[in-house]
Symmetry: C2
Subunit: 175 residues, 2 copies
C-alpha cells in the first residue's frame, strides 16, 4: 500500500484487499472504470486527481491485475485501461459502498442501478427483485437520480448522464 508498511501484521483477506484498492483515489478510479471511463485524460478531468497520482494508481491497478492496459491505436500509440475479470469482481464492493453512502450521507439519490433486461431497480444485495437473480455487472443499467446535477461542466460527467450499462465505454461529445 504505502507508507513503509503495508497492513503488515494482518492475517486477513480484508486487509489484503485493502492493500490493493485501499489507497486514496483507487476505488474512485475503479468506479469510473465501471462507468466506462478508459482513458488517462478522461479519468483526469472527471476525478480532478493529480496527474502523478493517477499515473501511479493506474500502474498499480494494472500490476495487480485489476485493470488491463490495451492499445487502441498505433499512431500515435495510445492505450486504454479496461477492467479485468478481477476488476469486475469488485462490483459488489462498490455497490455495497454506494448503498451505504446513499442511505446514510446523501439527501437525494444520485444514481439508480437497474436490471437492464427488465428495468427493475436492484435490491440491497444486488439482486433483481423481479427476476430473483443476482445481476452481474454487465447487466446493470445506471440511470441518473433526482439528486444529480443535470448539467455538469466536464464532458465525461455529461457522457455518463445518459442511461447506460456498466462497463460500456463512454462516448465524449466534442465541440
Amino acid at each position: 500500500m504505502a507508507l513503509g508498511k503495508d497492513y503488515a501484521t494482518q492475517e486477513c483477506s480484508i486487509a489484503r484487499a485493502l492493500e490493493v484498492v485501499g489507497e486514496r483515489w483507487t476505488l474512485l478510479v475503479v468506479r469510473d472504470a465501471f462507468y466506462g471511463v478508459r482513458r488517462y485524460n478522461d479519468f483526469l478531468v472527471h476525478l480532478g486527481i493529480p496527474r502523478a497520482v493517477l499515473a501511479a494508481r493506474l500502474q498499480t491497478l494494472t500490476a495487480e491485475g485489476v485493470l488491463e492496459k490495451r492499445r487502441y491505436q498505433d499512431s500515435p500509440p495510445r492505450d486504454e485501461y479496461v477492467l479485468t475479470d478481477r476488476g469486475i469482481a469488485l462490483w459488489p464492493v462498490l455497490r455495497a459502498l454506494s448503498l451505504w453512502g446513499r442511505d446514510h450521507f446523501t439527501e437525494n439519490r444520485l444514481r439508480i442501478f437497474r436490471h437492464a433486461s427488465c428495468g427493475t431497480e436492484l435490491g440491497s444485495y444486488g439482486e433483481c427483485p423481479a427476476c430473483g437473480t443476482v445481476v452481474p455487472a454487465p447487466d446493470v443499467e445506471v440511470v441518473p437520480g433526482p439528486g444529480l446535477d443535470p448539467n455538469p461542466a466536464d464532458p465525461v460527467s455529461r457522457a455518463i448522464l445518459k442511461p447506460r450499462r456498466l462497463l460500456q465505454p463512454i462516448e465524449i461529445e466534442h465541440g
Copy 2:
C-alpha cells in the same frame, strides 16, 4: 477525508462513503469492531497502528456516527467504542471486500462466515444457502479457516480465534 481536499467534485455516494471510511486504517478498525474489539488498547495491539492515528480514526468514526463512545466504568473513567446501526450497516462492504481478497489474493481461507443458527457457510452475497435469507451481522458466526495461524502472539488475535458471533465482545485471557 484528508489532504486539504475531500473528493470535492464528486457527486457520488461511493465518494461520500469513502470520505468517511476511505482513510488508511479506518476499515480495519471497523472490521475489528465487528470482531468484538471495543477498547483503545485492544485495537492498538491487534492492528499495530500508531497511537495518534488510532485516536484520530476513533474520533472521526465517532463523529460520523459509525462508532459510539460508551462509558463502561467510572473509576478510572474508561470508554469503549461500539458499532452503531450505521456502523453495522457496513457489514456488506466488509463482506464483499473479504470475499474479493480471498478469491484473488490469498491461498488458504483465513476466516469462514457461517449462519449461526444453522451452521451453513454464507454464500457470495451474504445469504444463507440453506435458509434462503440474507444473514444480518449479529447472526453471523466467524470460525478460523485453515490458513490462519493457530498460535498468534497478541492476546486479541487469540481471543478472536474461538468461533464467535460478529459483534460479540472479545474476552481477553490475562496471564
